[in-house]
Structures are given as structure tokens and as C-alpha cells.
Amino acid sequence: MIVVVIIVVYLAMLLVLGWLSSRRFRNTSDDFFLASRSIGPFLLVMSLFGTTMTAFALVGSTGKAYSQGIGVYGLMASWSGLIHSAVFFLVGIKLWSLGKRYGYVTQTQYFRDRFGSELLGRLLFPILVALVVPYLLIGLMAAGVTVEKVTGRTEAFGPDGIPGWVTAGVVCLVVYSYVFFGGLRAAAWANAFQTIVFLVVGLLAFYLIADSLGGVEAATAQAEPDRLVREGSISKLHFTSYLFIPLSVGMFPHLFQHWLTARSARTFKAPVVLHPVLIMLVWVPCILIGVWATGVLGTSKPPNAILGIMVGRLKDPYITGLVTAGILAAIMSSLDSQFLCLGTMFSEDVVFRMKGKDQLTEKQKLLRARLFVGVVILCTYLLSLITTKSIFDLGIWCFSGFAGLFPLVLAALYWKRTTAAGAIACICTTAVVWLVFFVQSPGKETLVLGMMPVVFIVLASTVSLIVVSLGTKPVESQRLRRFFPIEDDSR
């Protein structure tokens, strides 16, 4: 019971934080969606990191390391350190600059304006929504399964623990409450708080789990030896092909929205530098816990449940409660931004566009934005009740789709010759190639010629973008001048 009390206290603290941030709320849609573009370096580091570290990073990585060993770190974490920061540096700052100059709130607005194409916006919107929804689902599923496994070891709730649908529902309500009152500012504050919580609690959990297994040396000695190497579990080509997965951050709509909240371009310096180290601090303990679990649980447990089971094994209910709250912190620090971004997209790209943004008062805009965030949360919650995929594999499919769209944003920012038709070809190719691979092995990790399907998705979308762009009429020079200053004409 103490475990549940600690979780409830933690959730209540989030609500208080949401209420406090709402006192700074300026009652405008710009403040609701983008915190009036006023976020400084500390909050930006924390919110970008908290947003990218999802259930996938904690629950998924532990489960994947349990089944595939230490190589999982190199697959995702160390590649991400190099590539996420590169994307923040090359894409994030430029989009922030254009977003501030021309008042964009969503990706669709930028691409529509960059290429002067309505069709492009209409095509991109549903694809982005379809790719964010599975990402949201893994958060809700992970929250449910973690609390279920942790409470399943307590006397108060019996062997089944608190059902996943109850936890997922409570998480949705808490996130909706603080986002409702404070919008993105509340999400950024909550993300910073939750990031600190899951970093500190994660290291505490690592220490305590190691201690419960007789120390770090004994814990590693008990682990399955084949989990301590990559030989036999991950091929070299497979390992290298993961390079393309972290490109996905360049097209995450929720990250785009966080980039736009920055106070200045200089605010990006801290996230670019610190991101790789923060990733390491979260991933190394998770990988080791997953590997150690093979020594105490055998190798046949469901991967999604491993972190919950290992935390549930800690005897002290106070510690178990605290660690569980830390896991929920990591999960919720992404959910809030993702929920808010989908609500923003529906408001800005559909409702405001159909109705005419200038025709609505600030009060009407806020009401619609809050309503759409609520609708998105409800739909995602209902979907989470019927999904049973592996968290890691579902995440990888979702990232593969976003990575396929990365050539689009890179070309839009750096290649003047990109045309609307080329951009549309890139989106359509990504959708078709992704679907072909997904249908062949729905929701599971699969390899094509020994490589991740994302390699072929990115290559196909790049080729289609280049070929179609070169074969169609360039964007008019007047429009290009808005996106490429004159001194950059040599490019």
C-alpha cells in the first residue's frame, strides 16, 4: 500500500507544479502552444531530454537488453548521442529561427509555407499523427505494465497487482490536468522536474538493485554470459544499420514544438552538448539491470515486464514506490509533450485553418486547443487497452517512419532545389515503403538483407525526393528568398 501512496503523492506533486506554472500563464494560444517562446537553457535541456527519453528508453531498453544483451546500448544510445545533437544543431536551431521569424507553431505550417503547397500539408498531417499515436501507446502501456508488476508483489493488491488500464487512465488524467491549465509551459516545468526525478531515482534504483543482487560484480557474474557480448545476438551489419533510427528526432512533431519554445538560438548550446551525457546516465543502468535480470529471472520472462519485476523485487516498499514514481516520471515527461503536440496540430492545422484563426478570440482558441488535447488523450487511452506489442519493437517501427521523413526537413532547410512535388514524393515513398515492411512483420523487429528496414525507407525517400525535385519546376525565387538569405546564394 505504501508503494501506491508514494505514487499518488508524486502525481499530486505534478498537479501542484502544473497549478504553479499556470499562474504564469498569459491566457493566450501562443503561451499555451509555445510558452510565448520564452524557455531558457536549463528548461530547454531538461524538456528536450525528458521528451526524447520515453518508456522506450527505460522499460524498452531494459527489456531489450534482457533478451539481446549489452549491444542494445550501441544500437540506440551511443548513436543517439551523436545524431540527436547533430539534428538539434543542424535542424533544430534553423527551424527555431524560421519559426520565430514567420510565427510557425506546427511542422505542417512550415512545410506548407516553404513549398507553397496545400496538398503537402494535407498529406503530411495524417502521417505525422499516425506515427505519434504508437509512440504515445508505448508510454501508456509501459506505465500500466510497470505498476502492475510492482504492485503484483504486494499483499494489498494480490498477485495481479493494479490493472494496467487503471494506471494508464490515472496517468492520462494527471497529464491532461496540468497541460490543460498551463499548456507547454506546464509541460516544460513538469518535464524538468520529472527529468531530475528519473535521473536521481534511476541511479538510486541501479544502486539498490545491484545491492540486492550482492553488488555490481556479483550481479554481472550471475548474468547469462552471452548477454555480455554481441557475438551471436546482434550482427555487425544490423548494428551499423541502426544509425538511421535516431534521425527520427528531426521529424518528431513534439520536439519541433519544444524547439520553438527557446528564448534564443543560443539557448540550444546546452542541449547540443549535454544530451549525449544525459542519455548515457539513463541508458547504462537500464542496460545493466536488463542483463543482470537474466541471472535471477531466467531468460523466458516477457521483456516489457523486466524493469517492473526487478524494481518489485526490492524489499523496501518506500524505495519501490520511489523508483516506480521515477519510472512514471520518465514516461509522463514524454506523454505530456506528445499529447499537447497532437492537440496543437489538430487546433492549428485543422480547426484554425478551416475556421480562420483571425475569426476566433483568444478564449475560443484556447477552448478548442484544450478540447482537442482531451480528445487525443481519450482516443489514445482507448487504443492502449487493445495493444499488446513489444514496447521496444513498436517504438522502432514508429522511429523508422519518422526517420524516413528526415530527408524532407534536411532538404527543405539546406537544398534550394527541393520542390513541392519532390517533398510529396518523399512523404508518399516513406508511407508506402514503411507499410510494405510493416505488413510483412507487423509490430516486430525484422531485418532485410541483414539490415533494419529503416535503411531502405530512408534511401527510397531520399532518392524519390531528389529525382522528383530535379524533374519538376523549382520553387519561385521570391519564396526562396524568405528561407535562404541572400548571402547563402552560393549554396
Binding site: Y73, G81, S97, P225, R230, A265, V272, V273, V277
Partner: protein
């Protein structure tokens, strides 16, 4: 070679160093508990952070800041 070219070269070198194929079947432990393949990549993450620290100091795009006067409606 200018600093931009040198940075690109070091970035490519880092991407190559990510492929630590020589440690593939090495099960030895660092500090008695950390598998060497994991230790290598943890250290790699720190080197990458140092690389980005150098990049933001050497080639920061100062021209991208936008003052409030420059904002325009879409």
C-alpha cells in the same frame, strides 16, 4: 582545411569509431562488473559530448538569432 572541414572529418571519424567490431566477442569486464563492449560505448558518449562542446564553440551560427522586430506573420 577550415575549422568546419576539420569538424566534419572528426564527426565522420566518430561515426566510424562507433563500429567497435574488435570488441564483438570480448566478454572481459572493466572494474570487475562492466562488460567492455558497454564500457566502450559509455566512454564514446562522453567523447561525443566533448565533440559537441567543441563544435558549439568553434562554429556556432551566430546569424540565426531573431529579434522580436524581425518577426513576421506567416
Amino acid at each position: 582545411m577550415g575549422s568546419k572541414g576539420f569538424i566534419i572529418l572528426v564527426g565522420i571519424l566518430l561515426a566510424i569509431l562507433h563500429q567497435d567490431f574488435w570488441l564483438w566477442g570480448d566478454g572481459s569486464l572493466l572494474f570487475g562488473f562492466l562488460p567492455v563492449g558497454l564500457g566502450y560505448h559509455a566512454a564514446y558518449s562522453i567523447v561525443v559530448a566533448l565533440f559537441w562542446w567543441w563544435v558549439v564553440r568553434a562554429v556556432w551560427p551566430a546569424d540565426l538569432d531573431v529579434s522580436n522586430d524581425e518577426e513576421m506573420p506567416p
